[in-house]
Amino acid sequence: MKILAQLTFGAAALVLSAGIASADKLEDITAAGKIVVGVKQDYRPWGYLDSDGNIVGLEIDLAKDVADKLGVAVELVPVVSSNRMEFLQQGRIDLIIATMGDNEKRRKVVGMIEPNYYAGGANVIAPKGSGLTAWADLDGKDVCAIQGAYYNKQVARDYSANIVAFAGVPEATAALANGSCVGFVYDNTWIESQLASDAQWAEYEMPFVTEQLQPWAIAVPLDELDMAYGDKMRDIVTDWHKSGFLIERNAANGIADNPFLQEQQDRLK
């Protein structure tokens, strides 16, 4: 009985806190003088720790720009893929800018801001000097991959590559390292981050133009999506594309040109 009472009380408190949170978030942020943004700190160069222990990277540049545009300070909270949406729902953070892919399932949980600010896709990591310059060079060659990745089929079909798919990234990279395949097809963003951060990949490169893009979105709490806060974020992302800010920051962080950014700029201009 006591437990039941506690549960009821807990539920009531939850409803109450949700009620408070759904008051105009944009005003809350302005009043507090800071916006709390959830970012990655383990995904170089999108979000990582520099040698002084500060979180830096492309997405941190974006978070700072959001704060500047709102005229408030920024507070960065490191998140990982498995807790970022929960943090947002609990009100621990106000905004997610954390390499988050946009899909239907997640749209039921958090408010995905459109236009999408970024996109990841498929590319190949291959040893320098492998002679690969375009996707068509994969014709008839063994290419390592991860079982179940959405782009495997298209790479096999369009370029007649022989997909050698493993259960996990360590197996696939081990097979790549011992020369069982000419390259490893995987998320271009993962490849970028490995090339940028791990000395193991010093003799490797990402030779192709990224394909089969899947959009990423920044996210606000679901019930803020159609409120002033959501509108403001939409304006900011649109402006990032229009003004070329994203393209510029992308290059400034040492990331290879992303066809998605150019596409969006052309579309929104």
């Binding site: 040893p127 000097g129 492998s130 002679g131 390592c144 079982q147 179940g148 495997n152 089929k153 079909r157 997909i163 050698v164 798919a165 493993f166 259960a167 197996e171 081990a174 097979a175 390292a177 011992n178 020369g179 069982s180 000419v182």
Partner: protein
């Protein structure tokens, strides 16, 4: 062919049973390649495991102690470790050391993943076959061996012409069980990306999300494959039968 594909399209549209291998020639190609790879893998592994078993059992009876100890170690190693671990060991540990320079100037593995799967599965099943053949050899009466010695056969001749033919007959039932198990163990090659049936099916269901349908196809395929092997073994057993001798 068209009505065949139309049937499977209808099965999907009207009953929600999505057998892409029925109406999508690309998926069917992948699947049939998988079946063919499993057959090749099974046949080669069976062949080499039988050779390893026969040679191993002969060496086990050798007067040289060092050879007997070596075979003992070999059996212990392959019988006491899981075949999946052996496969990983060969492919990722040994394969990394055994490398040659390929045509593009970059190091390449000397043995392909298919090659390692054949080697690993043959050694695994071969180690068990040694024991199975030994049980057959021990069932050959001592007097028969003495008779062959009396006729002037040396040790190898006695083994090849007298002992092994009799031992195989005695060992055939348990040999059959081991070979059936070997065919089923070929699915482990999935772990090192050998495109056998399980691998092909997993590729198909992760693209088409028809896990339920492909699981059924997979089970039926193995029932079919093993049924063929059992039939062949049965025929072999019949052909080898000596009227009036033991089994």
């Amino acid at each position: 062919m068209e009505s065949f594909e139309a049937f499977f399209s209808w099965l999907y549209s009207d009953h929600g049973i999505n057998l892409t291998i029925g109406y999508d020639s690309y998926d069917r190609g992948r699947f049939l390649d998988g079946v063919w790879t499993t057959i090749k893998l099974s046949v080669l592994s069976i062949l080499f495991s039988l050779i390893i078993g026969a040679v191993g059992a002969w060496v086990q009876g050798s007067p040289l102690r060092i050879l007997r100890v070596f075979i003992g170690f070999f059996i212990a190693f392959f019988r006491n470790t899981p075949p999946l671990v052996q496969l990983y060991f060969f492919y990722f540990a040994v394969g990394t050391v055994l490398r040659v320079t390929g045509e593009n100037g970059l190091p390449q593995p000397l043995v392909s993943n298919f090659g390692w799967a054949v080697i690993s599965l043959s050694l695994f099943a071969g180690a068990l076959n040694v024991e199975i053949f030994r049980s057959g050899i021990e069932a050959v009466p001592k007097s028969t061996i003495e008779a062959s010695e009396a006729l002037g056969f040396n040790r190898l001749q006695t083994y090849a012409y007298i002992v092994l033919p009799l031992a195989v007959r005695v060992a055939l039932p348990s040999l059959g069980t081991n070979l059936v198990n070997l065919v089923k163990t070929t699915t482990l090659a999935y772990a090192i990306a050998v495109p056998e049936i399980l691998y092909a099916s997993a590729q198909i269901w992760s693209d088409e999300l028809n896990v339920r349908e492909m699981m059924n196809v997979l089970l039926l395929s193995y029932i079919g494959l093993v049924a063929i092997l059992v039939w062949v073994l049965h025929r072999w057993e019949k052909a080898l039968r000596i009227p009036g001798y033991g089994v």
